[in-house]
Homo-oligomer: 388 residues x 2
Amino acid sequence: MPTDLISAIQPNIAALPESGIVEIVNYARERKGLIPLWIGEGDLPTPSFISDAAVSALRDGQTFYTYQRGIPPLRDAIGAYLGRTYGVKVDPERVFVTVGGMQAIKQTIQMLIGPGDELVVPSPVWPNIFNAAQIMRGVVKPVTLTFGNDGWSLDIEKLFAACTDRTKAIFVNTPGNPTGWMMPREDMIALRDFARERGIWLIVDEVYGRLTYDIDHAPSFLEIIEPDDRVVVVNTFSKNWAMTGWRIGWVVAPKELGQVYENLIQYNTSGVPTFLQFGAVAAMNEGESFIAEMRERCRVGREIVSDAFDRLPRVRFARPPGTFYMFFKVDGQPDSRALAFKLADQANVGLAPGSAFGEGGEPFLRLCFCLSTDKLSEAMDRLSGVLR
Amino acid sequence: MPTDLISAIQPNIAALPESGIVEIVNYARERKGLIPLWIGEGDLPTPSFISDAAVSALRDGQTFYTYQRGIPPLRDAIGAYLGRTYGVKVDPERVFVTVGGMQAIKQTIQMLIGPGDELVVPSPVWPNIFNAAQIMRGVVKPVTLTFGNDGWSLDIEKLFAACTDRTKAIFVNTPGNPTGWMMPREDMIALRDFARERGIWLIVDEVYGRLTYDIDHAPSFLEIIEPDDRVVVVNTFSKNWAMTGWRIGWVVAPKELGQVYENLIQYNTSGVPTFLQFGAVAAMNEGESFIAEMRERCRVGREIVSDAFDRLPRVRFARPPGTFYMFFKVDGQPDSRALAFKLADQANVGLAPGSAFGEGGEPFLRLCFCLSTDKLSEAMDRLSGVLR
């Protein structure tokens, strides 16, 4: 009879860690009255103008296999949206629709990273990047961001110095989860030039590009690259349009990679449900007022959290220029995982430990402030009771 | 400036072939009046009792991140469905919900196949298996099925002889796409025992297990394995319930692999939309009469195609015991791809060339007969005009 099943699978897969975010969620998700700020999503369900479009397509019988690269109206709508937002021309032939931002990243890593190849990543960062690379037997080289009085920053020379002959790609998430760090435009240009010279690919995650507070949108690599640069820009419908549970994302990549992405989509997921894609078309074409609402909700949330933390002398934080996360630390609390469990137990508030986000994440905690004013204020009162 | 992008990606990914099915579809999909029998789906949209359940969950705001292994009511419903259908007990903790059967297979191959590891596969078979293994740098060893007067058969000793020390898994699709071949129960037992003795995993694709014509369901590995055997049974909602475009599938695997599948789902797709999963619950709980309707449609379709081919002396075929495919060849036509293009041009009927399905697929063609009587009869008239 079979024994020891785990030792009979691939060692890199057996060694995949449980998400440190999921661990705390599983620990406390069933607590009565717990206010969950641990996950990267708000408390608004998808707006009805998006759901209605999906329902209409479903009722219309759009339930068959479809275009692997995404339905043409959605690729067109994404191209037009990016054009309007960033003032650039994006040929819809460069757009490929994927099962969420996660699969967008996963397929791009499949395309670029083989066994022993290096992926350089500013860290702390969403940990799924590390694990997606580990599935392909890649080696992740984190380059830590620095937390100072002005918030988070990256020494771009340190990033360049981390690259070797084995470096196939650099992954940059800007604005960044969990820190809210935003790469300055001049660093983006320097990085583009460095990558061009070295033949290194850039995988750029711009999922939080519209969740910014002092400017309309974060600087985008789409504004500074040529269509055939070795750059893949990843995005998702999850955050801006409250569609985390829909699992629809996209990449913008060189047109010449069209057949490659079509194949990767075919042999990974075989595409995204057509009727959901029609919901995404509505998000693209009619979504700007909802984004404005979302940003205002997040702006207010950021103030509520900042005001509460300002009154707690042990808490160290900086207002993030983008994303809907506050990434903070507490004097005298070196173990973020222990503190997250303690806050779940004593404050009945769910936070994600910084240790889940790789190097540089300890001893911070991540708090998602995309929540109604009432609930968020209540959460901050409870946290303040424990952290004062 | 960057040049030659394709040479700058992983060679195994650059070498992925375009699907030979998609190639002919792209060639002729826009032809006016073409009758498409090339894809593995019928012409019925998803029945409304399933769509209604998904719409209801969507209207109810079920649009957030969810359980990576699948929502508990769906895992329970799948366990109960398998229990009813096969007369076995399937603990819902053994069930993991995936983005379609494709991602179910892909994640299982990630788990089992590393660079240079061998996957042994009876062929011809759905070509995506080969390509999923190629993404993980595995080596596929096809073992060809034989076409004789009684239809398709597999020499089980030939299958065993193809296994070496590098063989990590055997993939079996029964009833099989494209041949309709069904593995006899005694061969299943012999294969189970061989695999146990050698410590080889079995990946079993039972997607067409209910589309059978002389028996209620094909023999299932679920009937002959222990819960901790090294066996993963793959299935999907696509075929039985006309949900090809929904992208929901599942695996039944040893419970001990729960955390592994949770991680693979998290780091590949981050799960299946919750509101779609509620549609799948309805399919499981209320779907038997629709399956009966589907089978009757396919049974009639199989007769229409068989009757037409009986009158064509150059056509060689056997009535498949399962699936909704007829896999046939034509005397004097050694090139299935050329013949598929010719039939698209001259008969305005879309068929898939056998060359798309790997070794043993030439010179056959695949025809999907899950279609309304009128359309299928018209297609057979047109094909007969060219093939007589």
